[in-house]
Amino acid sequence: MTTTLEHTATSAEPRGGGLARHQNFGTAIVAGVILAWVGWFVARHLFWSGSDNWSDQVATMTATGWMIGFWIGIGAFNAPFRWLVGNDNSRDEDLYYAGYKQGRARYWKYTTDHKVVGVQYIILTMSLLAVGGILAMAIRTELIVPGTHFVNQQVYNSFIAIHGMVMILALIVAVAGPWGNFVMPIMVGARDMAFPRLNALSLWTLVSAAFLLVTVLAVGGLPVGWVVLGTISDQAGVGMDFFAMTIVVFTVSTTVASINLITTVITMRTKGMTLDRLPIFVWGTMITAVLALYAFPFFFVAELNQILDRTVSTSFYVASGGGTSWLQANLFWLMGHPEVYVILIPAVAALFEISSVMARKPLFSYKTAIGAMVALSGLSALVWAHHMFTSGWAPTLGGPFMVTTEVISIPTGIFFLVLVGTLWRGNVWMRLPTLWMFGFIFNFIVGGVTGIYLSDIPLDEQLHGTMFVTAHFHYIFVGSVLFGAIAALAFWFPKVTGRFLDERLGRYSFWLVFIGVQLTFGAMFLSGLKGMPRRDASYSLAFEHTNFISTIGAYIIMAGMLILLGAIITSWRKGEPSGPNPWHANSLEWQVPTPVPLENFLEDPVITQDPYHYGEELVRP
């Protein structure tokens, strides 16, 4: 294909669209609420209200109604329906769906352009971080002194679960969502994703799932912890049904997104873009997508079983019916550990990309870096039971799972070698992305080393279930992944907006968040060492000082994140103009104009070498 949709348009204004002209985020919510009400109303009358399962049946039907309504309202079914009745979309209509000449309105619609989807993911990630962040502040405020003062225990117990799940969702999409959609297709020389409509579908499905998740707080909460262990969640109210439905829907979204991403990388690469010339970020997102495709269906099954236990009295997890909570724990962690790498690998891959550009030096050990990411994702599928070392399940497997878990430190070590090796002897450009990258290196060491303690079973029998674990994975998720995500945002921000992210505010934000992380989670390690369990709404006087420091640190993180938000908003509107290639980088996304035109390239690019040829001879085609 050498002509773009734009060039084949028969008029300046696309004439197509039809029903889609009247559909957007607002109509999706309206339709979702209406069908949720219909589901609620029908279920109340359809099912026998004397049954123990009645409220769960009603809640599940309500959530299902919301989902279907949201899909109809946003326009997800328009094109498939037309195809089904033999009246397929015209060129003009496809152009309309791609958001052609619709200004800002296209960001609130079922738009197929991958760049619009990328921006929608930025907004979604920031919204989720805001919700999760507010909950985090409420949690830390409750824990500032012993006793329960600020929120009561029941509310606190819900907050920790929703904080956990919202933040996990936010971080799963934080890098792979915005940049896997906005820059990845351009990086491989494609005009869009392989399945543009599925791209919009996965984004909006995730948005509707996020609404469902937050609604849990309004329907009785989820006072069970985010791992929703079988026995305790059996006691939870309809909030648990909404949570389980959220996960079912979320899995649909990640599956669709992963298939789309993998297909794009395999089939849509431009001429000369061989696999050993692929930018490392593309490798990272593709490996992540493969891992997500493997991991999340376990979550789907885990929560589907829970829905069935609750609505139709199966007993997968109910001990009195012959079931076992260990089944839920196994399914959950079969997803739960690979998920950590679904979150981590895109951030690391983005930092690899950034390190080469900022050091003005080729990426160090490109192929070893790919090998490490592949090894890491492969191993991550074989370590899940280390989350169950102290559960009492299969003690004989403790040794084998300890081996697989600790072997992971070898590919993880490669990440440091690649990053430090690339920067070493470079001409390091100390801009915002570089600064956040150094923060990542610092925090990831702390998170990584403390992980080795937890993989050692005799030591895990002391530290499991304590604040030490919480501190460990927050050093990974906040200290490492969030730092990587912010570096990626600062790096690709000029491509999205044509402007730099404000350097001065960005630096204030960096130092606040960096210091805040050390205080909050550094002190949290000490709380854990002293023996403070996780998920406690109150604690004894022994943990007073370390908790106080953690709370102050959390407020400092919040201040830093608010400054970053301010920097994003002001820079987006009137930041310093950057031009199309502000970092003088070689990969394809920097060679197209900013703003990037619809379908990206006027002519398909031809690739002759990888994008890391700093200081090397140019290969002419």
Binding site: N157, Q235, S409, V428, R535
Partner: protein
């Protein structure tokens, strides 16, 4: 080539590495001693030793990465205006890669051998343990001593004798954790899980729930005592022979 490949001084890098390693080793020994509660069993002592050993091993590795990062920030930072020129293109360094892989593999194998050895030691049993039946329910622990009719909410165990906890739950999953013994296992409804350890110091111990179990999870604690064998027999016979 924008930069020459002349040998540059790494003195500052080695100094930083050395100083950070010393600081790391000091922290590795001091922090656990300062913050971990008093360990009163063989497993508890092993946990503390393992924690210190792993920290000491990690100190030079982490310090090496930190020293390299600091060195880059100092020596490789571009101080000019505008876009920095390209640096010398170094794509591979087989010697470094092999060294790095060897060191991380050796460390991993050491950590594994140590851990598997400790695990085997922890799993070995004397054959004549004192059995304590532990029952968790929302939100209280109960300890029963088979062979007697003693049921208590406080845990009493004699020192220098292996004790086996047989743990179960009446409702949801709880986490039975004897903080000062360094052992824990989940209390699952309908299942009995076991864990054993040998107390080696007299004094008060704390039992906590480490698996989220609902409203009052934060308050599901119990007090315990490690006493001499004669005190233990005296306590057993002083208890009401109820239940």
């Amino acid at each position: 080539m924008a930069t020459s490949s002349t040998k540059r001084s790494l003195t500052r890098f080695y100094w930083a590495w050395g100083i950070l390693t010393v600081v790391g080793v000091v922290l590795s020994i001091w922090l656990p001693h300062r913050y971990v509660p008093r360990m009163m069993s063989n497993d508890g002592n092993l946990s503390l030793t393992t924690m210190i050993l792993f920290s000491v091993l990690a100190a030079p590795v982490a310090s090496g990465v930190y020293a390299a990062a600091l060195h880059i920030m100092h020596a490789d930072r571009y101080r000019g205006e505008g876009v920095p020129p390209a640096a010398e293109p170094i794509r591979e360094n087989t010697k470094l890669l092999v060294t790095w892989l060897t060191v991380s593999a050796v460390l991993t194998v050491f950590v594994l051998v140590w851990g598997l050895g400790a695990l085997a030691a922890e799993n070995s049993t004397s054959g004549n343990p004192l059995v304590v039946d532990v029952t968790g329910q929302q939100w209280v622990w109960t300890f029963a001593y088979p062979g007697t009719h003693v049921v208590s909410n406080e845990l009493y165990v004699p020192d220098n004798r292996e004790v086996e906890f047989r743990v179960t739950s009446l409702d949801v999953t709880h986490g039975f954790w004897v903080v000062n013994f360094g052992v824990q296992v989940d209390a699952n409804p309908g299942v009995i899980t076991t864990i054993h350890t040998t107390p080696d110091k007299l004094g008060t111990i704390e039992v906590r729930c480490e698996q989220f179990c609902g409203l009052n999870h934060a308050f599901m604690d119990a007090i315990g005592h490690v006493v001499t064998p004669s005190q233990f027999s005296a306590w057993l016979s002083s208890q009401p022979q109820g239940a």
